[in-house]
Amino acid sequence: MEKVLDVKGLCKTYVVNKRQNNVLKNIDLTIEEGEMVSVMGPSGSGKSTLLYCVSGMDRPTAGEVKFDGRDISKLNDKQLAEVRLDEMGFIFQQMYMMKNLSVLDNIILPSVRSKKNKESRKKTEERGRALMNRLGIGEIAENDINETSGGQLQRACICRSLMNEPKVIFADEPTGALNRSTSDEVLSELLKINESGTAVMCVTHDAKVAAQCSRVLYIIDGTIHSEIELGKYDGSEAALRDRERTLNNWLMEQGW
């Protein structure tokens, strides 16, 4: 398997009121093609900061972040933006979308912006619709984002993240704002995407979400305290119960 993400000695320090706050300390991490990794840990442990640093949304203070073989910590803002646009997908806890655009327009926007996309606008739109249909939200394509439910919106966000066929999807608490059943639906979509070969790095507080990932990292005080390999999830209820039990035991050991 090829490494999609290879992080070495990643540090992130914030200086607030002349006081240094080392949020991430010497993190080493790799994510391979088609892997689904979740990051767990207590609030303020640095989970989201890690996600932002490895996805190029934020710059590490020290260390190396290799994405698809390229050290993205050395890229300028414009190059970073290009990498995020063309090769990464993002899903956030809040279903951020452009308020003035319809759901479909929000979804196809990254593709329209992408320089690597040479297809016609019509083709892009068709692809957007196809993605929406795949995720079961085809009927809300022309809707205003105020006219859609949270679950539909989060699935729309997933569609948007997939438009440029990214190598990896970064998800920051993707089910944090959803109820259990909607959360399950969204997660099942993420699993399908992962099945198709896209790596997923997901920050979550939800053990049920983490239990469906192949690997779980536990982060405390800016360092990866430990990790557990759960293997590929086959989608069955029984397997999920076993994985949840294993994970919960492990989490209790970590002091969760």
Binding site: D58, E82, L85, Q94, N100, L101, I108, V112, D144
Partner: protein, 789 residues
């Protein structure tokens, strides 16, 4: 919590609050100073008239006013009669400053010996000039307006081989010839100096003007009595003289209009700011309501803020209005003795009114607080019902690249806000272009017909040369003068047809009404060269065209007969046409070119119209005029534009107003752009962060934000360009009515200025303002998605 919110508001919305404060300051400053100015000049004019000791009515004549005295002396309604004599035989060419000729004006300067002064004239310190020291002279502002003449300069006067060097003592404030609408220079001389210069020609016919002041209880009766009397060049009431000074207030009136505009913009911004603030602080307001604080108490927070802002803004604006008001008054106080009339109180009242209006408006705008419920605290203003508007345009169907599409989509998605910006920017641009059009019109030869002459390449008005020596001595002396000029032009390689423009003062009667009228006659111009509003051009010697204003006064109309009384006798004429003119305050007529003019009827002239042979282009005409000035050693050769500028005299004031309007447009547009873009950034912070997170570069976001304003500006330029000419045509008549009553004037335009330069200024400042403000989006990073709720 009240003060925490207030403090937070002042800190977070610093730019918005500062811009609002600036608008309040500007509105207060312009309102206070222009109201001060208008009141001071209005009251000052009454004071000036009273202090000058002017009578109720006056007549200016080119001969001794014995006939006026004969007509009026025994009349019961005439309470006083007195006259001033001014010598008019001094050619401009013979007045030199430091050896150089000084700028000539159309009429010879009026030189008045101090012994002739019947009115009070005031020096620059408003002291009555009781004595003109020997070897010195005073003058009104027209004498030195285009000359760099300073107190103490020595001016050389030559007359009939005599030379007199006089020291310039300073300005004399002159109620008769002081306003911008009069162009006559008047000099006050010592008696012995005047006697030395003019003793040889003092009694010559046409060498002096007499200004007769008539005290009366019945102005109309006096007007009827002396209408058309021999030798009268002008007659009018005291009020007419005061009206002539109203042109000096035009800048103040326009400033007042501008300040009202600025105040309206301040209110629009205030509304925008309040709405934005309330939307931004939904949660705080909801929490306050949830804990039981009543609506009024919450509204008080905002009212306190805007009270403070408007009080500070108005106070600063009022303080700044004092020097600005004094500056505006200074230009007027050079020609009017204003006295100790200060309208500071009026300015203060204006400032207080501004505060009161802002507060009332603010109270109304904060009404939305009443509608907000505690639920808004937890739902961030969402009520649970999801109603939204679908975008008008769709990315999938659009051919536009993403950045312009998003810019356009933003505009369509916030039609109210962008509509407001479009409206304000359009008004700003229209103010500039309309004033430009008015200024171009009032300086263009398009208005030549209002002066009463037919269009020509050049106009020659110098009566001091050799060619005019026989003028007035025979019936055809005017035409002979024109022939002499034509001959000299041919000798100098500029063959031209020259025609003489006579003016004849007469009394015109119709039924039981009579008026004084000035008539134009040019024997060598086609009658179709003049512009008529209605009817047809006079076709025979017993037909006449009269101004609409005069016809109204006489109660006559086209097709009626009127009687003209001239020195040579009375005769009836058929009115065939009406037209507009500003000559002789609108009491004007045009005689047929076959009219048989007797020399005793020749009371004046509007010079010679010159038509160069071979229809030369503008450049050639300009070169010919320059050469004519050298050949005839005079400045009094004009092209059509110069003739209009000289006669109307408000073009310069409008040019100054236009410059001011450009400054105001730049200021308003820049401030509005910065304010609105800043508030948009604040509102769209989460979207900007999201865009950055999904791979949009900072440059693309800055471009999107800048493009929104550039698109709006482009629309503004198109709308304003389409509206400027119709609007100018609509406004030109009221503006010209300040000077005279005219109808059907079409505006002249400077296409480069109104369609290119002014729109480009607007586009450039909007683009720059939006661009530099949008650079602030660079401080928003993709990680801000985490800090957004």
């Amino acid at each position: 919590m009240f003060f925490r919110i207030l403090k937070k508001d002042l800190k977070r919305k610093k730019t918005m609050n500062i811009i609002l404060l600036l608008f309040v300051i500007l509105a207060s400053m312009f309102t206070s100073s222009s109201v001060n100015n208008i009141l001071a000049v209005t009251k000052g004019l009454d004071f000036f008239a009273e202090q000058s000791g002017i009578s109720d009515y006056l007549a200016i004549s080119g001969d001794k006013p014995d006939n006026i005295y004969d007509m009026l002396e025994d009349k019961s309604y005439v309470t006083s009669l007195r006259s001033e004599k001014c010598f008019v035989s001094l050619p401009w060419a013979d007045i030199r400053l430091n050896g150089e000729k000084i700028k000539e004006m159309s009429d010879s300067p009026l030189c008045m010996p101090e012994g002739e002064m019947k009115l009070n004239y005031f020096d620059i310190d408003n002291k009555v000039i009781t004595d003109v020291p020997k070897g010195q002279f005073y003058s009104n502002t027209h004498f030195c307006s285009d000359t760099d003449l300073k107190v103490g300069d020595k001016v050389t006067f030559k007359k009939d081989g005599k030379e007199l060097v006089l020291e310039y003592k300073g300005i004399a404030k002159d109620i008769i010839f002081g306003s911008q609408l009069t162009t006559n220079a008047r000099l006050l001389l010592d008696d012995s100096d005047a006697n030395y210069l003019f003793e040889d020609t003092a009694e010559e016919e046409g060498s002096s003007w007499f200004i007769t002041y008539i005290g009366t209880t019945d102005e109309n009766a006096v007007k009827d009595d002396i209408a058309g009397a021999d030798g009268i060049i002008f007659q009018g009431s005291k009020n007419l003289l005061k009206l002539a000074f109203s042109i000096n207030m035009i800048v103040a009136y326009i400033l007042l209009a501008v300040s009202i505009g600025l105040f309206i913009i301040s209110l629009v911004i205030l509304r925008f700011t309040i709405q934005f603030t309330i939307a931004d602080e939904l949660q705080e307001i909801g929490v306050m309501k949830a804990v039981g604080i009543d609506d009024l108490s919450i509204r008080k927070i905002y009212l306190t803020k805007y009270l403070g802002l408007s009080v500070i803004g108005s106070a600063i604006g009022f303080a700044l209005s004092l020097p600005l008001g004094n500056l505006m008054l200074k230009t007027v106080s050079d020609i009017i003795y204003i006295g100790n009339i200060h309208s500071v109180l009026a300015g203060a009242v204006c400032s207080v009114l501004i505060v009161a209006i802002i507060l009332m408006f603010c109270y109304r705008c904060t009404g939305r607080i009443k509608k907000l419920s505690p639920i808004d605290a937890v739902r961030s203003g969402q009520t649970g019902e999801r109603f939204g508007k679908r975008g008008v345009i769709h990315l999938g169907k659009s051919k536009l690249p993403a950045t312009p599409f998003l810019a356009l989509n933003d505009i369509f998605s916030s039609p109210k806000q962008f509509g407001m910006i479009t409206a304000i920017f359009t008004i700003c641009l229209l103010l500039v272009t309309v004033i430009s059009n008015l200024s171009t019109t009032l300086n263009s030869d398009r208005l030549l017909y209002l002066v009463g002459v037919a269009p020509a390449d050049a106009y020659y008005e110098n009566f001091d040369g050799e060619e005019s020596k026989n003028y007035g001595k025979t019936d055809d002396s005017g035409e002979e003068f024109a022939q002499a000029v034509s001959k000299k032009l041919k000798e100098n390689g500029m063959p031209a047809k020259c025609t003489f423009n006579h003016t004849i003062n007469a009394k015109v009667c119709c039924k039981d009404k009579s008026e004084s009228v000035r008539l134009s006659l040019n024997k060598d111009e086609s009658m179709d060269s003049y512009v008529y509003n209605e009817g047809y051009a006079p076709a025979s010697a017993d037909e006449i065209a009269l101004t609409s204003k005069l016809l109204d006064k006489l109660g006559a109309s086209i097709g009626d007969y009127v009687t003209l009384e001239m020195s040579s006798g009375k005769k009836k004429y058929l009115v065939t046409a009406s037209f507009s003119s500003l000559n002789n305050t609108g009491s004007f007529g045009i005689l047929h070119n076959s009219f048989d003019l007797a020399k005793e009827d020749m009371t004046g002239s509007m010079g010679i119209s010159v038509h160069f042979d071979g229809s030369p282009d503008k450049e050639q005409v300009a070169a010919n005029i320059k050469k004519m000035r050298e050949i005839f050693d005079t400045d009094q050769v004009y092209d059509g534009n110069e003739l209009i500028t000289k006669n109307i005299g408000v073009g310069d004031a409008l040019d100054a107003v236009k410059a001011l309007m450009i400054v105001i447009m730049v200021l308003v547009v820049t401030l509005m752009t910065v304010l609105i873009e800043r508030s948009f950034i604040s509102k769209e912070k989460s979207e900007i962060a999201l865009m950055k997170a999904i791979g949009t570069t900072s440059g693309e976001i800055v471009a999107q934000h800048t493009l929104r304003f550039v698109m709006i500006s482009a629309v503004v330029c198109i709308v304003a360009s389409a509206a400027t000419i119709p609007l100018s045509n609509l406004l030109i008549s009221p503006v010209l009515s300040i000077v005279c009553e005219v109808k059907g004037v079409k505006c002249a335009t400077d296409p480069l200025d109104i369609f290119v330069v002014s729109p480009l200024i607007l586009l450039a400042i909007t683009a720059l303002g939006a661009f530099f403000t949008a650079l602030y989006t660079r401080t928003i990073t993709s990680t801000d998605t985490a800090s957004n709720e």
